[in-house]
Symmetry: C2
Subunit: 380 residues, 2 copies
Amino acid sequence: MFDFTFHNPTRIIFGKDKENQIGQELKQAGLSRVLFVYGRDSIKRSGLYERVTQSLKDNNIAWMEHAGVSSNPVLSHTRAGVALAKEAGVDGLLAVGGGSVLDEAKAIAVGALAPDDVWNYFIGKEVTAALPVCTVLTIAATGSEMNGNAVITNEETQQKYNISSSHVYPRFSILNPALTRTVPPDYSAYSAVDAIAHVIEGYFTGQGVGLQNRLVETIVKTVMATTEVILARPDDYDARAEFMWGATLALNGLTKSGIGPHAFPNHMIEHALSAIYNIPHGAGLAIVMPAWMRWFAPRRPAIFERFAHRIFGLRSGDDGIEALERWFVAIKAPTRLAEAGIPAGDIEKIAANAAGLAAVWGIAQEYPKEVIADILRLAV
Amino acid sequence: MFDFTFHNPTRIIFGKDKENQIGQELKQAGLSRVLFVYGRDSIKRSGLYERVTQSLKDNNIAWMEHAGVSSNPVLSHTRAGVALAKEAGVDGLLAVGGGSVLDEAKAIAVGALAPDDVWNYFIGKEVTAALPVCTVLTIAATGSEMNGNAVITNEETQQKYNISSSHVYPRFSILNPALTRTVPPDYSAYSAVDAIAHVIEGYFTGQGVGLQNRLVETIVKTVMATTEVILARPDDYDARAEFMWGATLALNGLTKSGIGPHAFPNHMIEHALSAIYNIPHGAGLAIVMPAWMRWFAPRRPAIFERFAHRIFGLRSGDDGIEALERWFVAIKAPTRLAEAGIPAGDIEKIAANAAGLAAVWGIAQEYPKEVIADILRLAV
């Protein structure tokens, strides 16, 4: 087992109606004036906006609003949030939404204390401070509610890049599985793919021992089983709860501890897809993963055999990949570029974009542009 | 899934030679004058004492020593530590040892800031403050390195009671698997039993869903597989590492999140055994667990069947219990009272002692003295 440091100070408040204590929790966290970040109208239609603001009022928490966060949140909107946070002199961020809203709030938290432009921190500058971020999660998928990651797209340069810093772990995150009831079936499927991707990147590219491998397999099995229930019976609270906690554990450091050097090649390639075509992240991953697995499997045949055996009860690594792909098809996630309207003729352009991220992530040697293009051709 | 709060702020620094950075880590934690708590001579014989104190000197950390912590740490020694901590005006605790040393350090951390006697907090008074506790772990078993629990024995009253408080989560814990190399085989076996007990108490008495159940099964399998390797090849670093991290995850809140009301009846009964006879905790658990499982299995037959199937590939719940008991025998843990020199004639006395703890833990209705005696009779 490799050396590691594990430190995840985020407090998770999990269960029914927990969002109603948001004002009280913010007060206990020492905050009195927050920038309230959210997406479009859905939290107003669902009544969540009303419940959250009522709790803020009841606890004398002042707030400014920064609404309109898009999926694949963009830099221009983030910069507007930073300007607002600085101008209003807020002492923290309240993010209410899915991973995109949380990520933009984290970026604003960094930008609000930075002397320079927030994008600098996405292209390599170290984050040294951030305002406290607190969240109410409405879509389980990205794990942002319990980690130090945030992904933002610079829409001018078509770069979808990330920060990773201990400063942006949420102080607390409220997870009420019932709030995910409004997520439509296609996004439930994309969320499942995202959570699976979060654990298998390290599973296949790192060097886990029995414990970490079984933790990953546990999360994959959980995500698959509960997604099937959620799609069949959207009102099943327990399936939503199990999925939600599983998605959180998928990227909170647990499955990566001790596995040594590992990479996120599927995320790297997918970020190029959603940076250029603005497709949902999970949809892009469903396209990239089977292709990447077919390309990578010959390098680690034993791990792919174990995956096939433990997840699907199959013998060969190739059969395991095919079974996963068939499962993606069954939950109606796209597995080919064309299904997302991406022409095969764009592969060179996509590969060039992904290669830029490979350089930032330090995996350019293993993933030069030509290799990325080869992988993408397996998704035609 | 039941509502829960998960918050575990302990930083884990895991790997080879990590104890050499103890001084630096204490300094970064803002400490400059600590009470250095340890057991008997083993850390001096192994050279660990020398390495730790050298690092303290190198980083200008002043220390007072409180040595001689026993396994099943006792109140009188804890009180002496509290007096020393107060007199010396330390700003934190440094515990170097196994679970007993960590637990006594936590108790001292509470007592040092308490206006009254530290035992009050073990018999029901709420802990509201404690000095920071930092640890270097040398025996993997209790999970104390990443939780808010501490168990102390009042040797006058023969009460082995505990505190459970967010204030005594260690600030950080250094886990170097190589340090566990000096643990003798019998204590390796007892440690395995303890770690298994930590997860199965909630597994059988709570209401876990698929995710939590599989997490528990993963830890049980990990502990069993790695213990066999450790006993056969004591120098196997990877097995020690996997065991160590597995034992930490066994009682850090992970497997209990969302399982709802659950109890620790095996620990309750065992605490009576080690309070009266001062036997190793894990040895006591190996005696209690098969007996308790046989008594409890008819109440939750489906869970015992699942356990038998997933851990041992067996069909019936009874066979699963027998397989676990046989495994305890194979690793040379005692499974009958007589093996620990405890006469069957003492059962009433033991049951009365355990019933006292049942009252403190709020499970006296399910576990009156007569029931505890019935369970103990299954261990004759």
